[in-house]
Symmetry: C2
Subunit: 412 residues, 2 copies
């Protein structure tokens, strides 16, 4: 894409109403626009990052055999009454509205209840199980405080997956496969080294259990105690003498870190399906309640954590897997050669943002640093005299002049 | 995909609470689930159709040079006050809710105001124009009556595009290009022959003008008078002696049709940008209000119109361009050969739903008719004896036995 054509403009000044680094950088670089605290538009660059994160998550969920679908935001009161989660005293993040036709509707902050209700139409026998399904859905949460940019939103994109299995054993096997899939997701997003699976509740496979995926992040809201060597990570809430003994670790061996929760997985056993009446006939023909699991990844939150952790004073530093473009091509009064290289890169299947603007070098370089595309390629009469183009990775201080052939090899 | 793995089940009986044919068929075939009147989940088959419709629309909008983004559903009162469209007396389809943090929010039923507001951060000079941008967004409308299935939803997916241009001339040129792009979209969706551009208001390019794309559809809510030969289509509301004279047509030459609006395009001139204060410096350095156009296509509504118009007593009949799969492969006790053909088709890049279920032939055929995939391919010991597979198109009564090689040729 030509940068002259991109409608978003970068800005030097930090938005006055924004304390969070993730939102400050993403706004300044033109990835998002703030509608209100906790609600951000995804502008073209931001949408591309989000679609790439979704693409990685989708691939890994599909590998688990999960089927993609999408539920409504509008929610029926009756469905949520069945598990006693309609009342604002029970769930304090509901957005609710009156229907002009009469009655009340809610806006989905989670989808365990409606999806379980929907499944009653499709599951009748043990032969219909297991079922794994997921969606990328815009969740609405009426948060009292929304001050961490995209880390805690009132409106945000979440991947939520649900498993319906016949037995606790089948559930546990899928739950563990999902843990592995999540680990692959965070590795592919470049967050692998700083992301830990924590024991959120109990820490053992009891009937109801859950785990969180926590990424070390200064702007996060959680505290996790970590021992990298032993592979132990414990949420602050579950750290006590009993747990330390069980994990065979002492307090001295644990490092305290501020973290952001980037994923969570829950086992509900048959608690919800009993309340909602989702049962199937087992092999003996007896009605049996189905085991439910739920598995979330905050897609826009992941973008925020990456913006927090992979950035410097000059701007964003996207990992290649989710960068809006791979190459930022900058022309310095060599527009014909730049145009030719732009077409060459694109025909090699390489995504390029081509800065064809009539602007000063300093402005172009500052924008490139702020936007944070992994490879900066400058083409100028000087670079051409020296045999090619000047290449610099965003995460490095070093640049080198290489031939266009070498560049294409490097990128392929 | 193997049908044994698809979690949705078809059903014979028509849902008792659903009058609209589109919703009846889509529910029975397992494409959607009704959460409440006007709000439907997209189950895996339904999501695939919607994604394919979006794919076609995306291609055509990108060809116009438009950039994809996505706005929030949550809306600020202040933004809509500027054009006096916050008040329920002025706009009667708002869903609104109270923020726990204080104040009121709305849920987007349209996005002209917030996108124009956002553009103030990015447009400063005539050099920044034109800008064309679009989104696929879930709109929320608090409809008093929602009784036509996916034709009139409380929650539905819309493609809305916006153009910001310097002059009326530049606006008109883009407006006409969009008309052509829309015509290509409806042709590709298989609706071309029954879709007409109507003069919705005035019928001439005055300052504010609009056109609708209306598709002949019994379940529609509009009435359009059409003369195919002269290429004239007039919404009922604008038919009067003056208009007939202007169009050089008499009432006798017009056929009355019930139609569904599948797209609409509006020219706002500078009306909204004046109210909201979106101006840029022109070449002389003078602040000039920007010309705004808005261009909608109801994505889920298009799916509903296709379900209404392309179906028979046995079920849906998807056009190839948006069918959830191209081939419905049915094994009749020839599972090894079917599995081999399934893999062969997939490795040729052909999307296949493979009915590998242990079910009666009648059930498999009925399901295939109901789901409506374009090509039905039956593999059985009899078809293999006769030299291959039995092929039938969903929109034809004729079947033929052809070799697997011929099948692959036909589909490639």
């Amino acid at each position: 894409m030509k940068q002259s054509h991109l409608f978003t403009k970068t800005r030097k000044e930090t938005p006055a109403d924004e304390q969070a680094k993730n939102a400050q950088l993403l706004i300044r670089a033109g990835f998002i626009h703030k509608e209100m605290a906790g609600a951000y538009d995804l502008l073209p660059l931001g949408l591309q990052v989000v679609e790439k994160i979704k693409g990685i998550v989708r691939e890994e969920m599909n590998k688990l055999g999960a089927q993609e679908m999408i539920m409504t935001s509008l929610q029926r009161k009756e469905t949520w009454m069945e598990t006693d989660r309609w009342d604002d005293e029970k769930v304090d993040v509901w957005f609710k509205s009156q229907l002009h036709a009469g009655g009340e509707v809610g806006f989905g902050w989670s989808h365990e209840e409606p999806i379980t209700n929907m499944m009653k139409n499709h599951l009748a026998s043990f032969r219909d199980l297991p079922v794994y399904t997921y969606q990328f859905q815009v969740k609405m949460r009426n948060e009292l405080r929304a001050k961490s940019g995209l880390l805690r939103g009132r409106e945000f994109i979440m991947k939520d997956m649900y498993s319906y299995t016949m037995s606790a054993e089948a559930h546990d096997a899928f739950y563990k496969s999902t843990m592995d899939a999540y680990t692959r997701v965070y590795n592919r997003l470049g967050l692998g080294e700083d992301t830990f699976i924590t024991y959120a509740e109990g820490g053992a496979f009891t009937d109801n259990y859950s785990h969180e995926f926590q990424t070390i992040c200064e702007a996060g809201e959680d505290v996790v105690y970590i021992n990298r060597e032993k592979g132990i990570a414990l949420n602050e809430e579950v750290v006590n003498d009993e747990m330390l003994e069980k994990m065979n670790v002492t307090m001295d061996e644990l490092e305290k870190h501020t973290t952001a929760e980037v994923g969570n997985i829950f086992s509900f056993g048959t608690e919800k399906t009993e309340k909602m009446g989702l049962s199937v006939a087992n092999e003996a023909g007896e009605e049996t309640y189905v085991h439910l699991g739920s598995y979330g990844i905050g897609i826009t939150r992941v973008m925020a954590v990456i913006a927090e952790n992979m950035s410097d004073d000059n701007g964003l530093i996207w990992p290649e897997s989710i960068a809006p473009f791979r190459v930022h091509l900058i022309s310095m009064s060599s527009d014909d050669e730049a145009q030719e290289l732009y077409e060459q890169l694109q025909s090699s299947g390489i995504e390029v943002l081509y800065d064809d603007r009539d602007a000063r070098a300093g402005e172009k370089f500052n924008d490139a640093d702020l936007i944070g595309i992994p490879w900066r390629v400058v083409i100028s009469s000087r670079s051409l005299e020296n045999g090619g183009v000047e290449v610099k990775r965003r995460d490095s201080q070093e640049s080198e002049v290489i031939s266009i052939e070498e560049l294409l090899n490097k990128l392929s």
